[in-house]
């Protein structure tokens, strides 16, 4: 992995988009970086945390995105450049503070970096955070390749400082999680003394108090809108907006971010550069109006290529309507015309489809007979459903929960939350999870269900959340549940880290983002202090955990079970296997076992497989992590575990 501090100016290297963003922040002399982990944003903070000491940075995994934004703003108020990072839905968490931050503006440069996940490859939504730029009235930048990811991050901090407002830099999975060729620039030192000047007069946001209040709202919005007009004029000259193609193309394609790369390749594959021009925008709010208008005027028709929502399409159409005398009447294609899918991730083929339809050309990616063979071949490869890793504590936890709920009866269910354990909705988690929304919503919903007894509700309700989610958003909902004495049981699936996004520490861990000692918060003590009854179990002790969960289901006051077992992918666990597992073939009764292949058909750990020819279960040595849980699951004791040496 490229060390972001060691590589010299002018070096050409392969950088992940998120690493390029981190390097851009270092080149801008950033001092403070805060974020909450979320795919595809996490590697920005991770990259910065690795160089925090050498670069003299404060890098923080904040408890949630709103706190991350506040931490970054404090640095800006004290004269230090800062960034905060989050995934798309994190913007919704941070937005309350950010809305108010537009009421004062900022001092040193501050960039809010939001990495979106069009197509929801690793999300439960495909929110388009670009609309926040319009709602909050702040500038929006969208890098179109990896070089720009670095260069525009640097520029975002400079621009923010010049305009005195925070700036949103928006990336997507195909930029953040892809890697590309980047030529590095010079690093800037930070080294400023932090000081918050607040002796100036009210409404002097560069020297006075940073206060938003009823009397200042109209004034502050007027100032902010002036900044946007200035931004639009600056954007007209920006090198991050570029045009390729003839001056008066039949079709003008307007695009940004990864979509601009798809559009360029689509035009190339169709050999359509003689008819099509591409206006690639790096600054998408406010629009660089004069630039866009000039290209609109020269074009016959317009296609807007973007994901996941029609943000740019709207803005371009409004401009074209306002300036109809210059732009002329245009035919617009995009999401609203049905040429670009209104939901989901785009790719080059989608753009080829739109262009081919508009230009009236045919495009077949492969010869017909090949396509037929390819289609037939797909039936040869069995599909892969998502599952928990071999040795994952969540499989054991959900197994215990499933059995406890089944024994309790009355159609109990689990309110899920956000993490790997969301897969409790699948057979991998025995399908016990029946609700799945945003961070912290499991216990919030359960707390609501838990007060429906007055309306005849008698189903047992369990909420689950991970250890990181507990701190992020479950705590306030648990307070509410205890306060109202809701009949609810919270199960904290504590696997000792923010596992799904790559093991970032959280407030329950004894170290911070850069590996320094931090004061760990004790989930058990917090829950007890709130007044909940708490037990702690190891889900790998299957029988004991099942018994404990069942007896807790019998109770009715707010209660918490902490199921604690480290993630199978944690660095310690990967080092070795605790148990050596083997199947005693003579004892394995396979399909005759009470539950018909309990271990492979029901428990379904990838470390076990059913050998259909020999009619016995087997252990896959390469995949098995030696957790030993399957030995407890096997009804005939055929799976044997012994301590590995």
């Amino acid at each position: 992995m490229t060390d972001l501090m060691e590589v010299a100016e002018g070096t050409r290297c392969l950088l992940m988009g998120n690493a390029a963003i981190a390097r851009g922040a270092l080149e801008a002399g950033v001092s403070v970086a805060a974020g909450y982990p979320g795919t595809p944003s996490s590697e920005i903070i991770e990259n910065l945390s690795r160089v925090a000491d050498r670069a003299g940075l404060h890098v923080r995994w904040a408890v949630n995105e709103k706190v991350a934004a506040e931490v970054a703003a404090a640095a800006s108020f004290a004269g230090l450049r800062s960034i905060c990072t989050m995934k798309q839905n994190g913007m919704h968490v941070a937005s309350d503070f950010l809305l108010h931050l537009t009421g004062t503006g900022v001092r040193a440069g501050m960039a809010v970096i939001v990495c979106e996940d069009p197509g929801a490859l690793s999300s439960q939504n495909e929110a388009d955070a670009r609309f926040f730029a319009r709602m909050l009235e702040v500038p929006l930048l969208e890098p179109g390749d990896f070089q720009e990811a670095k260069d525009m991050t640097r520029w975002a901090l400079e621009l923010s400082e010049e305009l005195k407002t925070f700036v949103i830099l928006r990336s997507v999975t195909r930029m953040s999680h892809a890697s590309g060729t980047v030529t590095l620039g010079a690093l800037s030192g930070n080294g400023k003394k932090a000081y918050f000047e607040c002796t100036g007069s009210l409404l002097d946001f560069q020297r006075g108090p940073m206060i938003t209040g009823p009397g200042a709202v109209t004034y502050a919005r007027t100032v902010q809108q002036g900044r946007l007009r200035q931004a639009s004029r600056m954007f007209d000259q920006s090198p991050f907006n570029s045009y390729t193609g003839s001056l008066e193309p039949r079709l003008l394609v307007v695009s940004s971010s990864a979509c601009a790369l798809y559009a360029r390749e689509a035009i190339e594959i169709l050999g359509a550069w003689d008819r099509v021009g591409l206006l690639k925008l790096g600054t998408t709010w406010p629009l660089p109006e004069q630039l866009v208008l000039r290209h609109l005027a020269g074009a016959g028709e317009v296609l807007v290529v973007e994901e996941p929502q029609d943000f740019l399409e709207d803005a371009v159409k409004v401009l074209a309507a306002e300036q109809a005398s210059i732009a002329g009447a245009k035919v617009f294609y995009g999401k609203r015309s049905g040429h670009v899918p209104p939901a989901g991730e785009l790719n080059c083929d989608v753009v080829i489809g739109a262009l081919a339809r508009i230009l009236g050309v045919n495009y077949e990616p492969a010869p017909k007979d090949y396509a037929d063979r390819a289609l037939a071949a797909t039936f040869t490869a069995p599909g892969r459903e998502l599952t928990f890793c071999a040795g994952c504590p969540h499989r054991a936890s959900f197994y215990c929960l499933h059995n406890a709920l089944a024994l309790k009866g009355k159609n109990g269910f689990v309110c899920g939350d956000v993490g790997c354990y969301t897969m409790g909705i699948l057979p991998a988690g025995f399908e016990v999870v029946k609700t799945a929304f945003c961070m912290g919503s499991g216990i919030g919903l359960a707390s609501g269900f838990g007060k429906l007894g007055a309306f005849g509700f008698d189903q047992p309700v369990v909420a689950v959340c991970g250890d990181s989610t507990f701190f992020h958003a479950a705590m306030p909902a648990l307070v509410d549940a205890v306060h109202h004495e809701a009949d609810v049981m919270l199960v904290v699936l504590d696997n000792s880290g923010t596992a799904m996004t790559g093991f970032q520490p959280h407030p329950g861990i004894g170290e911070d983002a850069s590996g320094k000692r931090a004061r760990p918060m004790d989930i058990e003590a917090i829950c007890r202090a709130m007044g909940a009854k708490v037990v702690v179990c190891d889900p790998f002790e299957v029988e004991g955990t099942e018994r404990t969960l069942l007896s807790m289901l019998e109770e009715s006051s707010p209660r918490v079970a902490i199921l604690r077992q480290e993630c199978a992918l944690s660095p310690h666990k990967r080092a070795g296997k605790r148990f050596k597992i083997r199947v005693d073939e003579a004892a394995c009764i396979g399909s005759r076992c009470g539950c018909n292949r309990m271990c492979t058909r029901v428990f379904r750990c990838p470390g076990l497989f059913w050998d259909a020819r020999a009619k016995v279960a087997r252990i896959d040595e390469v995949i098995c992590t030696g957790c030993g849980v399957c030995a407890s699951v096997c009804p005939s004791g055929a799976i044997r575990k012994e301590e590995a040496g």
Binding site: A178, A377, T378, T380, A381, R384, C389, P427, A428, F609
Partner: protein
């Protein structure tokens, strides 16, 4: 310029497998060698939920001049490097064309429904035949068994990189690999990786039977 040695521009390689097999690392190693040689390279990956038992692909786009998107368009993969046999078929079905070449590891990673005995995993002969019907040439090697012999299954991805080098399809050499691992890894690890790379070259050469692609 290096561009002369690409048979197409952009030249697209898809490295595929199942989460945890090391294909993300493999694609980055390949891409890093090519960037060092002056190419403009993009690597597209999916991770997150896909890691958990799902198919995982990395798309490597190599060009002498432009940054291409991190997603290979349909039917435009020039080479498929596959750490899992049936994943080769899945990738060819979407990204293959009659001239695609494949380097395939023969070790299955069973999908959950196969483990559960609900669906059958195809025999290796059937997989081999299906792959042959969808590409110009392919070579199948025992990368996982070789990695286990070397002491660690994670080396399977480096063995596949060695096999890819032996096919001569992508412009990098053993010296490029040596330079990369000696710069980025501890000496003992670098040596082990080089040993795995050489094993891959040997296995692919044997499987190709002296015929050039």
């Amino acid at each position: 310029m290096a561009g002369r040695t690409l048979s197409r521009d952009p030249f697209s390689v898809i490295v595929t497998g199942v989460g945890g097999q090391g294909n993300v690392t493999a694609s980055r190693l390949i891409a890093s060698m090519l960037v060092a040689k002056g190419y403009v390279v993009t690597v597209g990956e999916t991770f997150g939920a896909s890691q958990r038992g799902g198919s995982v692909m990395s798309h490597v786009r190599i060009s002498a001049c432009h940054t291409y998107s991190p997603q290979v368009p349909k039917c435009r993969a020039d080479v498929v490097v596959s750490l899992e046999p049936t994943e080769t078929i899945r990738v060819l079905a979407s990204y293959g064309h009659p001239e695609t070449r494949c380097v395939v590891n023969d070790r299955p990673v069973y999908p959950v429904r196969v483990i559960a005995g609900e669906v059958e995993y195809p025999g290796i002969e059937e997989i081999d035949r299906t792959i042959a019907g969808l590409c110009r040439a392919h070579v199948m090697i025992g990368a996982t068994s070789e990695a286990l012999r070397l002491g660690n299954p994670v080396l399977q991805n480096v063995i596949m990189i060695g096999a890819l080098q032996a096919t001569g399809l992508v412009p990098f050499t053993r010296a490029d690999f040596e330079g990369l691992v000696s710069a980025e890894m501890a000496p003992a690890t670098a040596e082990l990786n080089l040993e795995a790379f050489d094993a891959g070259v040997r296995l692919a050469e044997q499987a190709m039977g002296g015929k050039a692609w």
